[in-house]
């Protein structure tokens, strides 16, 4: 294996790309600095003898449990963190630097042009060299990772800036930025790593940061629970990733992307092996990207601070699964059954999550289910082999969903400030407590409307373009593709694809409905916040609205990156061409070697349908949702029937709890621990044999009666035994 940094001969070798390893290292340095500041300020090393102090009680601490307003329980009692200024520089600073470097690398790569047909792999050092395994810490720069890096560092920078305002009074300010920096580091590792294990490092690393950030306000049990749940759900997926890696290594003997890509040629098309690999990979994706059946953690993850929701649980981390499938396009294209599985799960998730989104009252929960739903879309895209479309939707979604989350953060911030001013403990995230906010925060309202229309699919906003491309791809695949020819659970592939298309439209309809509903309840109608609080409602400071504006622009025009040929002319399919070297071959394999082609009429029809669905959805919501009729959360009546089921998320959490969690705990506790461990092994065998011995000993000592007669009898019996042994042979 090469240990020198840049491989010579590659067009990127002598460019700024040599320093690409700095891109993840910068956030890592930020993490170290912020982490140190966080600990340094918080730590007060104890006395030399710790046990001396354990027993006396100080007079502090009595107030800790008294508050339970959401999240910032201590936030307003504490002064700003002493290191806050410094942290505000470092935290976003390193991201900005990384973003700058990424752009430089991007231009270098663009400059390389056609020469960039092979990825630029730079090996930093050997990681686990043993036996036949040769695993390096190596980064891979290619078009796909470039896109992801731009999204991560770009949107990451914006969200970091937003956080400077949003988190300013939090006592854990440096800790927050430390985690955020660390997250970016791992996310970059995830997309830059040149092998599956290194991707897995990032994969689990972002999960870890997600865990830490969800539980950022760990003093509330619910938050800590949510973090843990996210981690464990992700681990279930990671199990799939691991198995997929084992399968790859056992059969191809390598784990690097390039090795797998080369080795994939030996795999049998549609064979059990490649299907298994892909399905296990996809299991990993369902965990990270919150798909059925592992989606339940994402809504709970909203317990974290809102910028976290925006960055991790909308724009970047949760899309890692999509990235992974795009990255493994070579493999997936060999396994149509697995692809169909991906697409079916994706579309089911999209619909299912959308139904739940219809009835949520928590503004962030609406967005969370929306995210799950949109991720489903992306999986439909990559599932049907339209890798570019999936990645494209990933990108536009990153724009508008980040905007929506940050906007909601801005709303929550305003609500929270208002409630805090009056010491009201009402829920700052419940839409029933909002209403009419556009009067108080017009910038936020406007920007969020842009994002809403984008996600609903109103042309020419970014969401429309990307979503349409996915649906068009599904439709195109129904004929003349490996997918259409495959059968999935006995159903012909083309039928499945039609079904996916129909469900995709249904999801789109519901998306338009619940997003409009959310906007109406939040920004329109009368204000329900409360008389005393109303004067305190105001727009957030510029450091928060600034990033919103940028994202608003991106949400609006992001679609131009990959306009369909129909409209784009010379500007069409830029992303498609850009990603061609990475996924082009795999896409072609799905479409049987031909560029998919739909007639213009069909394309117009599809676009028309999609737009009509979006408009109907918005109109439906507009007519059915009456903000004026809402009452604040505290006075709201309980839901009944289907509404209740939806509001309670189809009781999936409860079902998992009853079907999996409680049985596992119960069996572990009563059967394995108390029963088998304490009862059988320890009780019966270990202690049992000890008691048996003791009991026998007691019996033996009872024979020792103390009477000579007994002794003589025993002696003679022994004598008789021995003599008979000697006599009767």
């Amino acid at each position: 294996m090469h240990t020198d940094l840049p491989p010579t001969g590659h067009p990127l070798a002598d460019t700024v790309a040599r320093f690409a390893w700095l891109i993840p290292v910068l956030p890592l340095l930020g993490f170290l600095a912020n982490g140190f500041l966080s600990l340094h300020a918080a730590a007060t090393p104890g006395p030399a003898d710790p046990s001396a102090g354990g027993n006396h009680h100080g007079d502090h601490g009595g107030h800790a449990a008294a508050h339970h307003d959401h999240g910032h329980e201590d936030g307003h009692h504490a002064e700003r963190h002493p290191a806050a200024g410094f942290v505000s520089l470092i935290g976003p600073g390193v991201l900005l630097a990384a973003f700058g470097l990424t752009i430089a690398v991007f231009f270098a790569m663009r400059g390389a042009g056609e020469g960039m047909h092979a990825p630029f792999v730079m090996t930093l050092f050997q990681w686990m060299p043993t036996g036949s395994l040769s695993l390096d810490v190596a980064f891979q720069l290619d078009q796909l990772s470039m896109v992801m890096m731009l999204i991560i560092t770009g949107i990451g920078t914006l969200i970091h800036l937003f956080s400077v305002g949003y988190m300013q009074d939090d006592p854990g300010y440096p800790r927050f930025f430390a985690y955020l920096n660390l997250f970016v580091f791992f996310m970059l590792i995830l997309v830059m790593g040149a092998s599956y294990p290194l991707m897995f490092v990032g994969w689990e690393g972002v999960g870890l940061c997600s865990y830490l950030l969800i539980g950022f306000w760990f003093s509330e049990q619910a938050n800590a629970d949510a973090g843990k749940k996210a981690f464990i759900m992700n681990r279930i997926g990671d199990f799939g990733m691991l198995v997929a890696m084992f399968l790859l290594f056992a059969n191809l003997g390598t784990l690097s992307y390039e090795g797998v890509r080369a080795g994939a040629a030996e795999l049998v098309f549609g064979g059990a092996l490649v299907t298994a690999i892909c399905l296990f990979l996809f299991l990993g994706a369902t965990g990270k990207s919150a798909q059925i059946p592992l989606f339940v953690w994402l809504p709970d993850a909203m317990a974290g601070p809102t910028p976290v929701s925006a960055l991790i649980h909308a724009a970047t981390m949760v899309t890692a699964g999509v990235y992974m499938i795009a990255r493994s396009a070579t493999l997936f294209s060999l396994a149509p059954v697995a692809q169909l599985t991906v697409a079916v799960v994706g579309v089911l998730t999209a619909v299912f999550a959308a139904t739940i989104g219809l009835k949520q009252w928590d503004i962030k929960k609406v967005l969370a289910y929306s995210t799950v739903s949109q991720l489903g879309y992306m999986f439909v895209g990559v599932g049907v082999g339209a890798y570019t479309a999936g990645v494209f939707h990933l990108m536009t979604h990153a724009f508008f969903k980040a905007l929506l989350f940050l906007g909601s953060g801005s709303v929550i911030y305003a609500m929270h400030c208002a409630y805090h001013a009056t010491h009201n403990y009402a829920d700052a995230q419940d839409m029933r407590n909002m209403g009419g906010l556009k009067a108080f925060m017009p910038v936020t309202a406007t920007l969020m409307w842009i994002a809403t229309l984008a996600i609903a699919g109103i042309p020419p906003l970014s969401g429309f373009v990307s979503k349409d491309e996915i649906l068009a791809a599904v439709f195109a695949r129904t004929h003349h593709s490996t997918l259409a020819e495959a059968t999935w659970l006995g159903i012909p592939g083309s039928v499945v694809l039609y079904g996916i298309y129909a469900l995709g439209l249904a999801a789109a309809l519901m998306t338009a409905v619940y997003m409009t509903r959310m906007m109406l309840y939040t920004f329109h109608g009368p204000n329900r916040t409360g008389e005393a609080e109303r004067p305190h409602l105001a727009e957030a400071p510029w450091i928060m609205t600034g990033p919103l504006v940028v994202l608003g622009i991106l949400s609006a025009v992001g679609g131009f990156v990959n306009l369909p040929k129909l409209f784009g002319g010379g500007m069409a399919e830029i992303l498609h061409h850009w990603l061609e070297p990475v996924v082009g071959e795999a896409t072609l394999q799905v479409t049987l070697g031909e560029t998919p082609h739909l007639s213009h009429a069909t394309e117009y029809a599809l676009i028309g349908t999609a737009v009509a669905i979006a408009v109907i959805g918005i109109a439906l919501a507009w007519t059915r949702c009456k903000p004026a009729a809402l009452v604040p959360a505290a006075e709201a009546p309980a839901e009944v029937g289907l509404e209740k089921t939806l509001a309670n998320k189809w009781y999936v959490d409860e079902a998992y709890d009853r079907a999996v969690v409680q049985p596992t705990l119960g069996v572990s506790r009563t059967v394995l621990w108390k029963g088998l461990d304490t009862g059988v092994i320890d009780g019966l065998f270990v202690n049992g044999s000890a008691y048996l011995m003791r009991g026998l000993g007691w019996v033996g000592s009872q024979l020792q009666t103390g009477r000579v007669g007994t002794y003589a009898w025993v002696l003679v019996l022994g004598a008789v035994a021995i003599l008979s042994a000697f006599s009767f042979r």
Binding site: S701, Q704, T705, G706, R707, V708, G709, A712, W713, V716
Partner: protein, 97 residues
């Protein structure tokens, strides 16, 4: 003649053993042991018809030893009688377990 003598001594020995097993008085028990020893002596003496004097030497030795043993034994029995006012063996069971 030899066979009969040996048989007799075996019977005597057995009687001694049975006596030890059934009697509970320390003195009588000890007498039964002596009976056993004497049964053995009888064996030795009877065998000397076959093998010569060795057996008789043995008998002398046994008798000497038995006398010493008797002296010690009786002293011990007296000692226990002093403590317990009895030589009934079923009553002498301080030590057990």
């Amino acid at each position: 003649m030899l066979a009969e003598s040996l048989l007799l001594s075996a019977v005597l020995f057995t009687i001694g053993v049975v006596g030890v097993l059934t009697r509970r008085n320390a003195i009588i028990l000890f007498m039964c042991v002596e009976l056993m020893l004497n049964a053995v002596n009888l064996t030795f003496v009877a065998l000397s018809t076959l093998y010569g004097a060795t057996g008789q030497v043995f008998v002398i030795m046994v008798m000497t030893v038995a006398a010493a043993e008797a002296a010690v034994g009786l002293a011990i029995i007296i000692s226990i009688f002093r403590h317990r006012q009895t030589v009934h063996l079923d009553d002498i069971n301080l030590l057990k377990g």
